[in-house]
Amino acid sequence: MKCKKFKEKIILHLYGELNEKEGAELENHIKKCTECSQDFLYTKKVFKALDDAKEEEPEADWKKCWQGIDTHIPEKPHRQRSPFLSPQWVYAAAILLIVFVLGAIFGRYLFFPAQESSLQPVISQNSMDLALKEYFEEIKPILIEYANYTSSNGEETTIVLDKEVVNNLLIQNFLLKDIITKTNPSLVPFMEDLDIVLREVSNLKRGDIQTPSLIKELIHEREILFKMEILQKI
């Protein structure tokens, strides 16, 4: 085992690759060990034989060599390209993007089929009820005003309303109706009645004495306040 280590070192020693300490250690071993001593002498002979057998290198046909190179290199100047702009990167990025998009599409339908509805606005029943109640609270005073339009002595009263408030109520009605269509379709006709009333109120012009009576009739005919009362209690 020890000799194998020295046999390795004999080669390195002959190539001059051992430091002083290693060289001295090897030489001491060779003096004591016949096998390594013989191996050292034999390796030296092999090295000499290798050197003696070294051939003179032939001269190459340099002109032919250059012509060979010249025909194999492109005519156009070699441009330095950023590795990020090389086609391989573009293709790899495109493939990754396609895989990602396809993965997202298939993954969504495979693993989360019910999530389609999650793209729609998520509104809980409780918050919907609350929104409706608030909406009814806002619209109720206007409806009461028109429901009581005619005074007891037969004289017509003037109802003063902010048009902006009415328009806001119309917008709210539109939005709530849109949600109700999906969550509680039975309420849609009632919301449409409210919509008609609000539109009439919104279109009222100063001096118009006929329309408020029509609105009053509409409120009574469709039992809007009564229905609203029930809905608020539910």
């Binding site: 080669i11 390195l12 002979k45 092999v46 034989a49 290798l50 194999h72 070699h78 330095q80």
Partner: protein, 191 residues
């Protein structure tokens, strides 16, 4: 034209600049390739392949990073030689005897017919022994024995550890020693 200027121009596609680099380094690469394949024509092919590869990958050579051209070129030459021999191994094995003997007769240094025959035999044995080594072992031996690079430099060129280079060198020399045993003992080489 100095080396750095030639490299910069060659990077821009200037063939004359590449020719300058070729003229300055051709002998070194040819010598390495010849020692490795032991055939002048094959060595010429390797030399050409090396410089075509140099031209194509010169854009990756960065002078600003303090890279030296010579070791970089040498590394390409080493890889081209190993690849070339690997590709042509079967062909080489078929023709190795004929080629080597041809080369030997062409490059014979001695005029003594007796000595010439003896060296011919030794060269043949060396060639046979080198053919039996793996590409890497063969290259390690060529770089150490004929190109006179130290094991640390060889490790850098071959991108492996110095310990691995030493092991491969030991195996290569041991194989040569084994093959040449009869001949050397017979001739009792003088030290």
């Amino acid at each position: 034209m100095n080396e750095i200027a030639a490299i910069k121009l060659a990077q821009e596609g200037n063939k004359e600049a590449l020719k300058t680099l070729f003229e300055e380094n051709k002998k070194k690469i040819f010598s390495l390739a010849y020692q490795y394949v032991k055939n002048a024509e094959d060595a010429e092919d390797i030399l050409q392949e090396t410089f075509v590869k140099v031209y194509r990958s010169l854009h990756r050579f960065n002078i600003q990073d303090g890279m030296s051209f010579s070791p970089w070129l040498y590394r390409i030459g080493i890889n081209c030689s190993i690849d070339y021999l690997r590709r042509n191994k079967i062909k080489k094995e078929k023709n190795s005897g004929v080629n080597n003997l041809d080369n030997i007769s062409c490059n014979n240094k001695t005029s003594d017919p007796e000595e010439s025959r003896g060296q011919k035999e030794i060269r043949e044995k060396i060639s046979q022994s080198l053919n039996k080594l793996s590409g890497q072992q063969r290259m390690v031996f060529i770089l150490r024995h004929y190109q006179e690079l130290n094991t640390k430099e060889i490790a850098e060129y071959l991108n492996c550890t110095e310990g691995s280079v030493k092991k491969q060198l030991f195996r290569a020399v041991s194989s040569l020693k084994e093959h040449l045993k009869g001949l050397i003992l017979e001739k009792s080489y003088e030290m």
